[in-house]
């Protein structure tokens, strides 16, 4: 059997637990309002478009008091922590104010602590991370015309 190459993509699954029922309500309100914004005004969409190395990203609620951030991104998250913080730090400042064991805020001024928090709350991956296209980055995919435009 041929061994699959290590994908250029990586998973990130961050579990954030609300500090209190009130914080949980606030988290849900923030996320709901954020995700109701049109793409051109949604700061997450704007940031991810600019970063250009995130394939997929979504928020989900788990149980009564947890918020999940689930993404698939290219390359080394640590290497791009500065760009991530510069572009999307404000969103995390709002969210992390409501979570248990959150890092000091604003994250722009506490980048290492922010990185440490993300790492500590990332569920990672059991066994192999499957990718249907292990060699292809966001840029590679966007660079290839889709069938409809050929």
């Amino acid at each position: 059997m041929t061994e699959q190459p290590q994908p250029v993509q990586n998973p990130l699954t961050v579990v954030m637990k609300a500090k209190s029922p009130e914080d949980n309500t606030a988290l849900r309100q923030v996320i709901t309002q954020l995700q109701a914004l049109p793409a051109e005004r949604n700061p997450v969409t704007i940031a991810l478009n600019k970063l250009g190395n995130v394939h997929f990203a979504r928020f989900a609620f788990l149980g009564e008091d947890q918020l999940l951030l689930i993404t698939t991104y290219d390359g080394d998250f640590v290497a791009y922590i500065n760009e991530f913080t510069d572009n999307i730090g404000d969103v995390f400042n709002t969210l992390l104010a409501h979570v248990e064991y959150g890092p000091p805020l604003p994250v722009e001024s506490h980048r290492q602590e922010f990185l440490d928090y993300i790492r500590a709350h990332d569920l990672r991956c059991v066994g192999t991370f499957y990718s249907a296209y292990p060699d292809r980055t966001v840029f590679d995919i966007l660079d290839t015309p889709s069938d409809s435009s050929r």
């Binding site: 250029v8 600019k50 970063l51 250009g52 190395n53 290219d74 390359g75 080394d76 290497a79 791009y80 500065n82 760009e83 991530f84 913080t85 510069d86 572009n87 730090g89 604003p106 722009e108 001024s109 980048r111 060699d135 980055t137 966001v138 840029f139 590679d140 966007l142 660079d143």
Partner: protein, 447 residues
């Protein structure tokens, strides 16, 4: 922002000296009080380090100082203060080697012995206008350090005829423009880098963030960090590769050389002159770094300057990159060749030749290491590069590297790239301010 006191900053951080000969000396501190006296001389004596203050007359020999992490302890820096320095500096170049591609023949077990000596504490650099001035200043320094330090090793370097590096390219054309600092390189119209990218204690290019200043502030502020690199160049291998690819593709050797680098060998950038190294009208010398890959000279697909070429990887400018950071991760590069000029009439002469380089920035991790790991030794940051590496400095293994030259009718792919640059040694250094040298001199002066 408070103005930078240029007289407190080591000069080579902010300006080039244009010195034809250079020497790097590695010292080990053996007697700390006497070493402190040596440092006092470097702060305030006749052998004081060259600062960034304007000079009326260029010195015959400029002197600068770097300190390794073990050097801090040797000079009496307390553990709490040592702990305030960044982790990558504390680990040092040898431990971080794999992350920048220094593996295999470039791994630390192959390095020059003095650069892996755990007793390497101080690096003293001399940049002189003549060999005589270099030797005279070396002798003065030896006298000054001899009571407190021993020399572990040295590396000499000198310009080659024609002001080129060993692969034949003009070098040193691209340096960052730094806000509020007198222009030290060729002008350009790119976003300037804030001084906090090159000096500790000022706002960085990142939102709401200044890199932490090692404590106490007298030690950390106005300092910077440098990766010292001794980079051996396989000029035979490079010339043979280019010759073979010219035969295989039918492209002229000069064009292949230009595509690999992103500039013709005389420094003319491909983006400004894709077909000839002698455009008419000629490009003025001070316009050789004034271009972008988007906008006026747009070359988003790399048809003029390949996206994977050396200078485009090392500074993607406005090109779309992962993180959206093509203008960031700037680094100050001070490099000077060592070894004899390559003579194509006498190949494989067995002589070592390469580049003695210093790569300077406020964060070794976010500047030097990022450039090597993300942009030189990987290709996922830009469209279409796959896992390829920099064709000139990349850590290729076993002739397995490839290089794509984009063309509207389809790319030409060069195959069989080897490692043309081998790391023969490295050191991560703190570049203290003059105030910091004075502070360090005071730690053990009275023991």
């Amino acid at each position: 922002m408070a103005a930078v006191d240029l007289a407190d900053v080591q000069g080579f951080i902010l300006r080039g000296y244009t010195a034809p000969v250079a020497r790097c000396l590695g010292l080990s501190v053996r007697e700390s009080a006497a070493a402190s006296a040596f440092l006092t001389g470097l702060a305030d004596g006749d052998l004081a380090v060259t600062t960034a203050a304007p000079w009326a007359e260029k010195p015959g020999c400029c002197v600068n100082l770097g300190i390794t992490f073990p050097g801090l302890a040797a000079l009496g820096v307390p553990p709490g203060s040592q702990a305030s320095f960044p982790a990558e500096y504390a680990e040092g170049a040898a431990k971080r080697a794999a992350s920048v591609g220094d593996v295999g023949v470039s791994s630390p077990d192959q390095w020059l012995a003095w650069l892996v000596d755990p007793g390497l504490h101080l690096l003293v650099w001399l940049f002189a206008q003549s060999s005589e001035a270099l030797d005279a200043t070396t002798a003065q320094l030896q006298q000054a350090w001899s009571a407190g330090c021993v020399e572990l090793g040295r590396h000499d370097a000198a310009w080659l005829p024609g002001d080129v590096a060993h692969f034949g390219y003009r070098d040193g054309l691209s340096q960052p423009i730094i806000e509020d600092i007198p222009l030290a390189g060729l002008p350009d119209h790119l976003p300037p880098a804030p001084v906090g990218e090159f000096l500790l204690g000022y706002p960085s290019q990142h939102v709401g963030f200044s890199y932490p200043v090692p404590q106490p502030a007298q030690l950390g502020a106005n300092g910077s960090f440098a990766a010292l690199r001794v980079l051996e160049q396989d000029v035979d291998g490079f010339a043979e590769f280019v010759s073979a690819q010219a035969s295989a593709t039918g492209m002229p050797e000069e064009l292949i050389l230009a595509k690999l680098c992103g500039r013709w060998r005389n420094g003319v950038p491909l983006v400004l002159s894709p077909d000839t190294d002698t455009p008419d009208p000629p490009i003025p010398p001070d316009a050789l770094n004034d271009f972008d890959y988007v906008g006026e000279h747009h070359d988003e697909r790399g048809y003029h300057c390949p996206i994977g070429s050396h200078i485009r990887r090392m500074h993607p400018r406005g090109q779309r990159t992962a993180g959206g950071d093509g203008y960031l991760h700037r680094i100050v590069r001070r490099g000077i060749p060592y070894g004899p000029a390559y003579d194509p009439a006498h190949p494989r002469d067995g002589r070592a030749r390469g580049l003695l380089g210093l790569f300077i920035g406020v964060s070794l991790r976010d500047q030097f290491e990022f450039l090597m790991a993300q942009w030189a030794n990987d290709g996922t940051f830009a469209a279409g590069l796959g896992r390829t590496k920099d064709p000139v400095i990349g850590a290729h293994t076993d002739g397995a590297g490839t290089f794509s030259i984009p063309r509207p009718e389809g790319p030409v792919v060069l195959e069989g790239l080897s490692r043309f640059v081998t790391t023969r040694g490295g050191a991560y250094c703190f570049l203290p301010s003059v105030s910091a040298i004075r502070y360090l001199a005071g730690l053990r002066a009275n023991l």
